[in-house]
């Protein structure tokens, strides 16, 4: 007997001791132990579904109630199991990212203690609850973060996350309409012979540029047999010439002189856009090789009862590069305003039901649900949810969204 055990152990030990592989080392790195105990969020839920804070017989059940009303704090206080309905000094202080503090005092509301004020989104803050009950002070503290993440500066840099300071901006919203270029009636002059007669001389050819008063042709009147000049009534280009020397000029127009230095774009504004378009709005006129600024000069109903309205826009054509009949696009500026606070559109991301930007405070990023106003292709006005001067993520904001959502951010109240 005495032999067996030692012998056994010696054998087992020699076999195993030579093994280079020792027990797999403990892999748990205790990563979860960073938080201090007192800062841990209370996990127990109370009978009303709120967080249950307990200390020495005193309990506070704290809930953010947001069904049908803006989010508000509701609390139920009990001492040794009996509900306390008066003589309580209950205080909740929220410290948000960036140091903003919200404080709530509570008043009894028949059924529960109601905090004064709205708990604004995001519900991400460090909570400190103090309770004075029967001359005794109780205190709880914990972190309640949502929509928040931390990214080291160098990694953010490497990942191409760039921030900008929120500030005022000018917003110019446009809508695009298409239409063809036309010439205005006042810019085409059709020249006829005042007295019928024989053309004795023609001075211009098709395409010639003429100034007002330039002689176009000479006609020998049938009645007086005098020769008189046909002169151009406007500056322009000869676009039609119907006669040659020797022909008889009668009633028909002989020349058409068009002034193409200004053309008119007739942009088609459809019913859905009509309410936004008005006279005097700025228009960016675009066609191949042309990009100029113009104004909506007139709005007129379209011919033949087509469902659209024509916005007539005067287009300068000093070089003659444009020609009537060309289709052009016009970006009509329907809204142009200076706003006190605007964010870059690239910064906007959807998050749950909100449109948010991510603000940066040191290495921490957090959602800011925004109430948005006017918007154009680059900037969007912010009505609420962000302060001027806040640094928000512009480039690669999707990365922050991805990072927050990947950890299964919860919205727990």
């Amino acid at each position: 007997m005495q032999l067996i055990k030692p012998l056994y152990w010696i054998l087992v030990a020699t076999c195993l001791a030579i093994s280079p592989l020792h027990a797999a080392e403990d892999q748990h790195d205790d990563q979860d132990d960073h938080k201090e105990a007192q800062h841990e969020a209370p996990e127990t839920k109370g009978p009303h579904g709120g967080l249950l804070l307990q200390q020495d017989g005193a309990t506070v059940e704290l809930q953010i109630f947001e069904q049908g009303v803006p989010p508000e704090y509701r609390a139920w206080v009990t001492k040794d199991g009996t509900p306390v309905t008066d003589d309580v000094d209950l205080n909740v202080q929220l410290t948000r990212l960036g140091g903003q503090e919200d404080a709530f005092d509570f008043a009894f509301q028949g059924d529960y203690w109601l905090g004064n004020g709205v708990v604004t989104e995001p519900h991400s803050f460090d909570v400190e609850v103090t309770l004075a009950l029967n001359g005794k002070q109780y205190q709880w503290q914990w972190e309640s973060h949502e929509g928040r993440t931390r990214i080291e500066a160098d990694i953010a840099e490497q990942a191409g996350i760039r921030t900008a300071e929120a500030g005022p901006g000018s917003i110019e919203r446009t809508l695009t309409a298409y239409g063809r270029l036309t010439t205005a009636p006042e810019q085409i002059a059709r020249v006829r012979a005042r007295f019928p007669g024989v053309i004795t001389k023609v001075n211009v050819r098709l395409g010639d540029r003429v100034a007002k008063g330039d002689r176009l042709a000479q006609v020998e009147s049938n009645e007086s047999l005098k020769t008189y000049d046909l002169r151009s009534p406007i500056d322009g280009v000869v676009i039609e010439r119907e006669i040659s020397v020797g022909e008889i000029a009668g009633e028909q127009p002989l020349f058409a002189i068009a002034d193409l230095t200004t053309l008119w774009a007739e942009l088609q504004v459809f019913p859905g856009q009509r309410s936004e378009v008005a006279v005097d709005q700025k228009v960016y006129v675009k066609a191949e090789g042309v990009d100029q600024q113009a104004t909506v000069n007139y709005l007129l109903p379209s011919p033949d009862n087509a469902p659209y309205t024509l916005a007539r826009v005067k287009v300068e054509n000093p070089e003659g590069a444009l020609s009537p009949g060309l289709l052009i696009a016009g970006d009509i500026v329907v809204e142009s305003l200076e706003v006190p606070l605007a964010v870059n559109n690239r910064a906007l991301q959807s998050f749950r039901d909100w449109t948010v930007v991510f603000v940066q405070v040191d290495d921490t990023y957090e959602i800011r649900p925004l109430e948005l106003g006017h918007s154009d292709g680059t900037l969007t006005e912010v009505l609420d949810g962000l302060q001027a001067g806040d640094r928000y993520v512009v480039d690669n904001s999707y990365l922050i969204k991805a990072d927050i959502e990947k950890s299964g951010a919860s919205h727990d109240h």
């Binding site: 093994s19 080392e25 990942a159 309409a177 990072d403 990947k406």
Partner: protein
């Protein structure tokens, strides 16, 4: 019969020996054909049906493709179940058949069914079956890369499109010819396309619609053959070539005639090489790349095929343009070679150790060699058997082979022969006849116990055959191989061994009692006598040891299946649904840079999204990363464990924003993708029609589950979250403009998605000609509202006028199972028994969740397998034990003796448990197999010992003397079998090479167990025997007459 065989073997000893040559020949031939792989294939019998549907959203893919395909499969013979996913541009139906169904048969059936539904599918869509490959199929991956500074002929840098062209038209056609390769699957780069991108304004200018443009391109891009003409006896073929061949030619195509002037494509559109709307991308070391995966035909030898592909790659290299490099980044050969090297090393070292031990203990080189010869011979026989039964050689199947166990039978026979021969030779050299007779007798004396022993070891492997599913596929080959090896050894010890003894042990047999044995004997005798005096103490201690070990066993952790270390790391990088491919690539680049910074890492590459052949349909938000490690000697710290490295990597990459990770290994990852069942303990599937209702019900289920005690990691399958821009037609307004819904949809589809307008041929290469809006217009969704829609009268109307644009989340994929939509809620169980948890969950859900009509629940998950496995094992294990006892009773005709021998089993297990505990290893199936082997060895030892003691007792009549004498005589064989069996496993227990983790627990258990079992056989067994037989004054003759 045994007598007859034995006599034949001894009499016709030369004939018997010459049979060895046949065995060797057949064995070597089989060896050539033995499929070698690293791990057993655990894929089920499945066929994937992929239908590519460019532009289809998940909802449309499900409605138009998945549903008809699934419906067509109803009622297939041997169908186990179907599951499907519908995603952007893809419908994949996976058809799983019952185990054992012939894959080709299954594919034929499906092919036939698919043929019948061709008309039910939208035109142009073609369901295709996935490659005939299993989870082991991805044997080699390579990347195609341009060296820095390399340019194309026109001076532009060699981009992803050009590389993809090289892959598709130079590399792939050559690789696809390699025997055993079923598919070359490409991911990454862009399929080259010719893009015609009309400007909406220009179209409006000339009053041309997209349709007219597409039509014009189609109508001007055909070659026509026109028969032949016979002229002057000669035949002339007539042909009118009209195909477009270049960008310039495309630009010159006339679309229409306006006021006598032709409007050419170049007037309204840009033409250029464009990028396809791809569904997948590949990256390597932080940069985009083009990657090919060679997939192996099912049943091929992965090592051979991978080697062939790698060699082919080498020969392809010179045919590539200068500056383009193709490089294998993952090669299965490496792993297989490593695994095989591990097995080889273990087996060789084990065999050497066995031979040395035999020589030392037998003290006779010839005898040792004869015994050792059983090792290669039975190995060859086993290989033949493996080839015949289709078992591949891998870490699992070869992992449990212990030459010590295999030669046990032969050891006992040879030992006895030597002992008898040397005794007989004290009177001088024996004449031949007498010697043969002696050999026959000596063999016959011990053949029964050793045959029984082998039979018992074989029987104890039976429970392994009762495992099903993945566990079954892992361990069946192992059990099959061991049983084959044992049977082969058994046959050999019946035939070849006695024949060889008869032939080769003719000379003077000097049985030199080796100093080891005589030393052991001089220690053993007094020890045994003392032990017999203190028998109660010994028995008490043994019982106490047993109890301690039972308690110890419960404290050991457990793992179901051991993890084979593949040497490389794979990790899924998961991003939130809806993440775009380009965004993913950017995030991937940061991740890869971080990973390559590890000095242990050789290369990192990844597949993002879905490859060309959707063998693994992932959304663009998911990337499969492969981290190939350098060989250990290049590590800064070669002793760092892989677990440590993985932990370090995890820490490093977790800091990167936006990614979630799952670490795994390449083959493991592939298996998981293919098997893809619910991997949590409990999966509750909600079936029904409406996605919103399904999700609502699933959330209800989740809520109830959360309140069930023991529930952990509760998750609802993520089904929504893909942002979708919907263009809702305004029917009234459309009709006012004389448009219908289809016109609008066609315009949006062509404009955004693009429309195929034919093919451009460049030699063999063919590229799509696509019409779609310019990138700038497509991407600007703010301006999409102003997209002009041409009207029949040549005017236009903006999109916002006739349609409502809505941006809202939509299903990112629709999963179906057995032909019905489903959403899964999964949960794991902590600190509670699984059965109770599932019961409570079922009851609570039935009570508290109110499902609408037409919706139902199904419960699944690993709990099912665990339950069925334990149910089966609960039946099979007792039966096995009963069979063992039955065999023992048959052998001895005495229940008492049978039970005495049987006590060896629990006592042997104590050593196994202790050694596991000492090495801090968990209980696993591997360890379980070790315990099984151990029971066999324990019984074998006991059998031999008891048989001898009983014979002696019968001869001498004195129980105590018989016990002591018998025990002493059997000391040598017992020590020998124990030593060879345990030493044979020592290399396996100590090995750290690839695959060793599977074998280590097994070897550890056997070594520890054999040590305890030997001690117990040597001490407890004689004590028990003498105690239990104390009252049997006289031995009954009847008892011995049996067997």
């Amino acid at each position: 019969m045994i007598n007859a065989i034995l006599r034949f073997s001894v009499e016709r000893r030369f004939l018997t020996l010459s049979l060895i040559l046949v065995l060797i020949g057949v064995g070597l031939w089989s060896f050539q054909r033995l499929p070698i792989d690293a791990v057993p294939d655990i894929t089920n019998v499945q066929v994937q049906i992929n239908t590519e549907a460019p532009g289809y959203s998940p909802l449309e893919a499900e409605q138009r493709i998945t549903f008809p395909v699934e419906t067509a499969l109803y009622g297939l013979p041997d169908l186990s179940y179907t599951r499907s996913i519908s995603r952007y541009g893809l419908s994949q139906v996976t058809v799983v058949f019952e185990e054992g169904t012939d894959l080709y048969f299954a594919r034929n059936l499906i092919n036939e069914r698919l043929g019948s539904i061709k008309n039910a599918l939208p035109p142009g869509l073609e369901p295709e079956m996935g490659p005939i490959a299993t989870g082991l199929g991805e044997i080699l991956m390579y990347t195609v890369e341009a060296l820095p500074g390399v340019t194309q002929a026109d001076g532009s840098p060699l981009d992803a499109t050009a590389l993809r062209e090289i892959q598709d038209w130079i590399i792939k056609p050559q690789l696809a010819q390699v025997p055993g390769v079923i598919e070359i699957n490409t991911i990454g780069g862009y399929d080259k396309q010719y893009h015609v991108t009309p400007s909406p304004q220009q179209l409006l200018q000339f009053g041309i619609t997209m349709d007219e443009l597409v039509e014009a391109l189609r109508a001007n891009n055909v070659n026509r053959g026109a028969g032949y003409i016979e002229r002057n006896g000669q035949q002339l073929l007539v042909r009118s070539p009209g195909q477009l061949a270049s960008i310039v030619e495309i630009e010159q195509v006339v679309i229409a005639n306006r006021h006598g002037a032709p409007v050419k494509v170049s007037d309204v559109a840009e033409v250029g090489i464009g990028k396809e709307l791809r569904t997948g991308a590949a990256t390597r070391d932080g940069k985009e790349t083009v990657m090919g995966t060679a997939m192996m035909l099912v049943g091929e030898n992965s090592r051979t095929v991978a080697q062939a592909v790698a060699e082919k790659l080498e020969t392809i290299q010179p045919s590539l343009p200068d500056g383009v490099k193709v490089e294998a980044v993952y090669d299965r050969t490496t792993l297989v070679d490593k695994a095989i090297a591990t097995v080889e090393k273990n087996l060789l070292e084990g065999a050497l150790l066995v031979i040395v031990v035999l020589f030392l203990l037998l003290g006779n080189l010839r005898a040792a060699l004869i015994t050792a010869a059983v090792i290669p011979l039975s190995m060859l026989a086993t290989i033949t058997g493996m080839v015949q039964t289709g078992v591949s050689a891998n870490l699992m199947s070869l992992g449990a082979l212990d030459f010590g166990l295999i030669v046990d039978g032969a050891v006992i026979i040879v030992e006895n022969c030597i002992r008898r021969l040397s005794h007989a030779q004290h009177n001088g050299k024996l004449p031949l006849r007498e010697r043969l007779q002696l050999v026959f007798e000596a063999t016959n004396e011990v053949i029964r116990p050793s045959l029984f022993g082998v039979a018992i070891i074989t029987v104890v492997y039976l429970p392994i055959f009762a495992l099903t599913g993945v566990e079954g596929k892992m361990f069946h080959p192992m059990a099959a191989t061991v049983v084959m090896a044992l049977l082969a050894a058994m046959v050999l010890s019946l035939t070849v061994v006695p024949a060889a003894v008869a032939v080769f042990m003719g000379g003077k047999i000097s049985e030199k009692e080796s100093p080891v044995i005589s030393g052991a004997k001089s220690l053993y005798k007094p020890a045994l006598l003392v032990a017999m005096k203190l028998r109660w103490l010994v028995l008490g201690a043994a019982t106490a040891l047993l109890l301690v070990c039972i308690w110890l066993a419960t404290t050991l952790g457990s793992e179901f299946i051991p993890q084979l270390d593949e040497g490389d790391i794979a990790l899924h990088a998961l991003r939130i649904p809806g993440t775009g491919l380009e965004q993913s690539i950017e995030m991937q680049s940061q991740l890869e840079q971080r990973l390559t910074a590890f000095p242990e890492v050789d290369k990192v590459f990844a597949k993002i999204g879905t490859p060309e052949v959707a063998t693994d349909p992932m959304p663009p938000s998911v990337a499969d990363n492969f981290v190939i490690l350098k060989s250990r000697d290049q590590w800064p710290n070669p002793d760092k464990t892989k677990d440590d490295l993985v932990a370090e990597m995890e820490e490093a990459v977790t800091q990167l924003p936006g990614n979630k990770y799952e670490f795994t290994q390449p083959i493991e990852m592939r298996f998981n993708e293919l098997i893809s069942g619910v991997r949590a303990d409990l999966g509750i599937k909600v079936f029904g029609d409406d996605m919103d209702q399904l999700l609502a019900s699933a959330l209800e289920v989740q809520e109830v589950l959360e309140t069930v005690e023991g529930a952990a990691d509760i998750q609802v399958e993520q089904v929504t979250g893909l942002p979708m821009l919907s263009v809702h037609p305004k029917r009234m307004v459309l009709s006012r403009y004389g448009l219908n819904v289809e016109d609008l949809q066609a315009l949006v589809a062509t404009g955004i998605g693009g429309e195929n307008a034919g093919l451009i041929y460049e030699g063999d290469r063919r590229f799509e000609l696509v019409v779609r809006l310019p990138e700038a217009v497509r991407r600007d969704i703010d301006s999409l509202a102003f997209l002009p829609i041409p009207l029949p009268d040549g005017s236009y109307v903006p999109l916002s006028e006739v349609a409502e644009l809505e941006l809202a989340p939509a299903p990112n994929q629709i999963s179906r199972e057995n032909g019905k939509r489903r959403v899964v809620v999964t949960a794991n169980v902590r600190d509670r028994d699984l059965g109770g948890f599932v019961e409570e969950a079922q009851a609570r859900i039935a009570q508290e969740v109110d499902l609408p009509d037409g919706y139902w629940l199904d419960y699944g998950g690993t709990f099912e397998q665990l339950q069925s496995a334990s149910a089966r094992l609960a039946l099979v294990v007792p039966i096995t034990l009963a069979i063992i006892i039955g065999l023992l009773i048959m052998a001895f005709g005495s229940i008492k003796d049978a039970l005495i021998i049987f006590t060896g089993v629990p006592l042997a297990l104590t050593g196994g448990v202790l050694s596991l505990w000492l090495r801090d290893m968990p209980l696993s199936i591997s360890a379980g197999v070790g315990f099984i082997a151990l029971s066999g060895v324990a019984v074998l030892n006991g059998l031999v010992m008891v048989a001898f003691i009983r014979d002696l007792w019968r001869e001498q009549g004195d129980l105590v003397t018989a016990v002591v004498e018998g025990a002493l005589v059997r000391l040598r064989p017992v020590l020998m079998t124990a030593l060879v069996a345990s030493l044979g496993f020592v290399p396996m227990a100590l090995n750290t090479g690839t695959g060793a983790e599977v074998q280590r627990p097994l070897a550890t258990v056997v070594i520890g167990g054999i040590i305890s079992s030997t001690l117990l056989t040597l001490f407890v067994l004689p004590i028990l025997y003498s105690m239990l037989h104390r009252n049997d004054r006289k031995h009954k003759a009847v008892e011995e007459a049996t067997t």
